[in-house]
Amino acid sequence: MSKDLSPPPSTVPPAGWAASYEEEPSQASTPPSPYGAQGGMTSLKPFGWAKDNLFNTKLNTVLTLACLAILWFAVPPVVSWVLLDATWLGTSEECRAGAGACWSIIVVKHRLIFFGTYPYDEQWRPFLACALFVAMLGVSGVRAFWRPGLAVAWALVLVGMGVLMWGGVLGLTHVPNDKWGGLPITLMLSVFSITLAFPLSILLALGRQSSLPAIRTICVGFIELMRGVPLVSVLFMASVMFPLFLPEGVTIDKLLRALAGLTLFTAAYLAEAVRGGLQAIPKGQYEAADALGLGYWQKTWLIILPQALRIVIPPIVNQFISCFKDTSLVTIVGLYDLLTAATVATTDPEWRPFFAEVYVFAGLLFWIFCFSMSRYSQWLERMANRYNRR
């Protein structure tokens, strides 16, 4: 159609590159690239479109064929392993006989993966606690519920979760928290550490900009220390070394110590993201607030933070996601998070060959939570920046 009108790749390499880049992820569903259809009408027919966009230059033709070859070799084996040849409800013997994935292990071991070593007959309790927790998180994301009642609801849900998890009241048997494991640990550690780290990070970021040298030094020192040390060491220190400094007889729960380590670590990173936002606020905003007679905290709370935090929603959520995944490191201090519980599920000799399936499943669970956060942050960003619209 327009083949003769398209310039050769040597004269306009960017167009050729851009077009070949855009066609890669998905084939015909991608809208026609503005670069691809130079000089001619873009045909709506798949064949014409492909000719205009995928085979319009020699380079694009080669790239298109290469991509098709990769797909040809990669997709069928994956599909047959995941779906066609997979064993869904069979025994481990049937799995060994089959060629595909053994999803039976998930079916058999899902209670262990989700709830770890929590007493088997009581596992409805962590299930209910998690369901409440996730529902509450969902509700908290909806703007219509952002009112004082939400705080009350959270208080009730947290108490309810505590009762469910610990028991010891209302006829529930007591389950000490070293028996907890799986999804509740991952969810609670990540959500609580994020919730505690966020306000702390704001204070750290403000402190880092303080005009008082002592406060500035403490904040900079803390942030640089935490950022300079791997999370694993922070968790070790929180778990092993911290109790050494406590007076005789005083013990702090292992879960709480891991939570503290995770919180401090996340706060240091978040503080730097928040500082980026603070620095993006024009000097004139500070001056206008000063000139109106607002005090430091009024200025910070009413003028600076609302603008600064909107700017840094993407890096903040980035850090939230990172923190969520980092909770899997608490395994090194002996806590049973989701990933650790999944690992334990693979140690059963009967099912040992099928560890890949378990990790794929655990990965999927992590992905669902992280992807939800990512989507939510996009909505939040649009909502928070609506004042920028003209």
Binding site: G284, E287, A288, A291, L294, Q298, L302, N388
Partner: protein
């Protein structure tokens, strides 16, 4: 330096000096402004006029000399600064409205938080000021949706909502497109006619001529000359002033 006697002086600068590191920004600036007086400050860029006006509400701190505003001397004491800022409104070159708040919220924020006024009460007052600057219909828009001239009028209304005794204007029309300068100057002229004490850094000589009680010419951190508009424009005393007027009035 001006006609005002220090008996009704509302702003008094005595031998004020300021340095930015080694740069001497203000050199022994002395100035007395009486209640209700309108003073226009002009001069070439870098002459210290903005620095001086910003010292009056301590956006900049002076290092030597004294600044007394409505009986309160500005010192390192936070209380003195707070007290002065409550009485002094300021309008900036770049408006500096709060972009995340609606126009009405921009106006009511400081009265609510600094003066402790009730929301309903200050909203009525804010609407009154928005009518006076002729944009009541924009009350619920965000600043980003307004033109530059409208934004600057909101900024003036915002300052007025704090019921200041003194208004400082730091080049209020310099960032505006030419066709919007007049709408802002008109509001300022009305304000002047109502008896507000005003200190205005501007290059709008027409405004200076018609509104100012006195004009101050600064260069290199010092006040070179001050006097009534008639004296200043018809019979400037210093060579430096004549040169400056020649440059800005030749078009």
């Amino acid at each position: 330096m001006t006609a005002a006697t220090s008996a009704n002086a509302i702003i008094e600068l005595r031998k004020v000096g300021k340095w930015y590191n080694s740069y001497h920004a203000l050199r022994d600036v002395s100035l007395t402004i009486g209640k209700g007086e309108k003073v226009v400050v002009c001069g070439p860029s870098g002459s210290g006029k903005s620095t001086m006006i910003r010292c009056i509400n301590r956006l900049e701190a002076h290092q030597t000399g004294h600044i007394i505003v409505n009986g309160t001397e500005l010192t390192d004491d936070v209380k003195s600064v707070e007290k002065v800022r409550k009485q002094v409104g300021m309008v900036f070159q770049n408006f500096n409205l709060f972009p995340h708040l609606s126009v009405l919220q921009n106006l009511t924020l400081a009265p609510i938080w600094v003066r402790g006024m009730a929301k309903s009460e200050i909203e009525d007052i804010a609407m009154m000021y928005l009518r006076r600057v002729r944009i009541p219909d924009q009350a619920h828009k965000f600043p980003g949706q307004l033109s530059g001239g409208q934004q600057q009028r909101v900024a003036i209304a915002r300052a007025l909502c704090m019921r200041p005794e003194i208004m400082l204007f730091d080049e209020p029309t310099s960032a505006l497109d030419p066709e919007m300068v007049k709408e802002v100057l008109d509001v300022m002229i009305e304000l002047a006619n109502e008896g507000m004490t005003m200190v205005c850094v501007t290059h709008e000589m027409g405004f200076a001529r018609s509104v100012a009680d006195s004009i101050i010419f600064m260069a290199e951190g010092s006040i070179i000359e001050s006097g009534s508009p008639a004296e200043f424009f018809e019979n400037p005393k210093s060579e430096r002033t004549r040169q400056f007027l020649g440059q800005i009035l030749e078009h």
